[in-house]
Amino acid sequence: MGALNHKFNENILITSLDKLLNWSRSGSEWYFQFGLACCAIEMMSAAAARHDLERFGAMPRSSPRQADVMIVAGTVTLKMATRVKRLYEQMAEPKYVISMGSCANSGGPYWQHGYHVLKGVDQIVPVDIYIPGCPPRPEALIEGLLHLQKKMREEHILAKKED
């Protein structure tokens, strides 16, 4: 408590509601483990002991209802695309999508002759962060999550949205 010692009177903290909510949301990015292909293995490695995602507050959840951010890790095929859209719609607001790997970004190595590959998951869901790589290193995934934290801290989720 060194930095905060003697700074405030008697448990009163003055901040904006936006800042408080953004701080708590960015510190607990529960990700929807949507591993499809090879990038899923790097996502698992990122969650394991050496690269440890949990120290950033990112916990894997299997159900879309409990997740904040959907990490689309791997190739999205046309057969799978309808399911990706349905699961995205089942997540509760505020929600984010991270597209991990070149297959999810734009079709990856299968862009030329892949008759069954969706060329980029942003054709069906809105993407916030793109992580390049084939597969991206776990450190790259961590950088993507940190960028998302920065993005979250600048949002105003309580403000009325203009229609």
Partner: protein, 162 residues
């Protein structure tokens, strides 16, 4: 037994249903069989004591150039007697039909469904011949050389927008 001996054995039993033995330009000498006779040939290969081919290693469809016949290739192996044989069946493009071995080898069930899915080769006698890798409403058989992908599938663009 060598492939030549197996070919002699099969020719003696099935006469004109066994077309020829291809030995040139292949590392596995191949017996060409008439497509409608594949089931009985495989029954014979599996049940005969001296042949005892109990393992179907691989079943694949093949399209040479987009105009000539389609073919199906079978790689068989006997785990007890440790010998190999390869079978091939040619069938014409418009009405491709080959008799199924799904009731003889369990491996063939899914492999034949894949050949139907990607090449459009019908396997008569298969218990449940439906697509396995692509969706039921997919049009066309993609691995044929003259296949052209559609532009959209269920509203999603297939080709990459440059």
């Amino acid at each position: 037994m060598t492939e030549q001996e197996i070919y002699a054995d099969l020719s003696a039993k099935f006469s004109d249903k066994i077309v020829e033995l291809i030995e040139a330009e292949t590392f596995n000498p191949t017996v060409v069989v008439a497509p409608a006779a594949i089931t009985e040939v495989c029954h014979y290969l599996k049940d005969t004591e001296t042949l005892n081919f109990n393992s179907l290693m691989n079943l694949a469809g093949h399209d040479t150039d987009g105009e000539s016949d389609l073919s199906v290739i079978y790689h068989l192996h006997s785990t007890e007697l440790d010998h190999y044989i390869t079978l091939k069946a040619f069938t014409n493009r418009e009405n491709s039909e080959v008799s199924s071995v799904a009731n003889i080898y369990g491996t063939a069930d899914w492999h034949e469904r894949e050949a139907w899915d990607l090449y459009g080769i019908k396997f008569t006698g298969h218990p449940d011949l439906k697509r396995i890798l692509l969706e039921e409403d997919w049009e066309g058989h993609p691995l044929k050389k003259d296949y052209v992908a559609a532009e959209f599938y269920r509203g999603m663009r297939i080709e990459k927008v440059k």
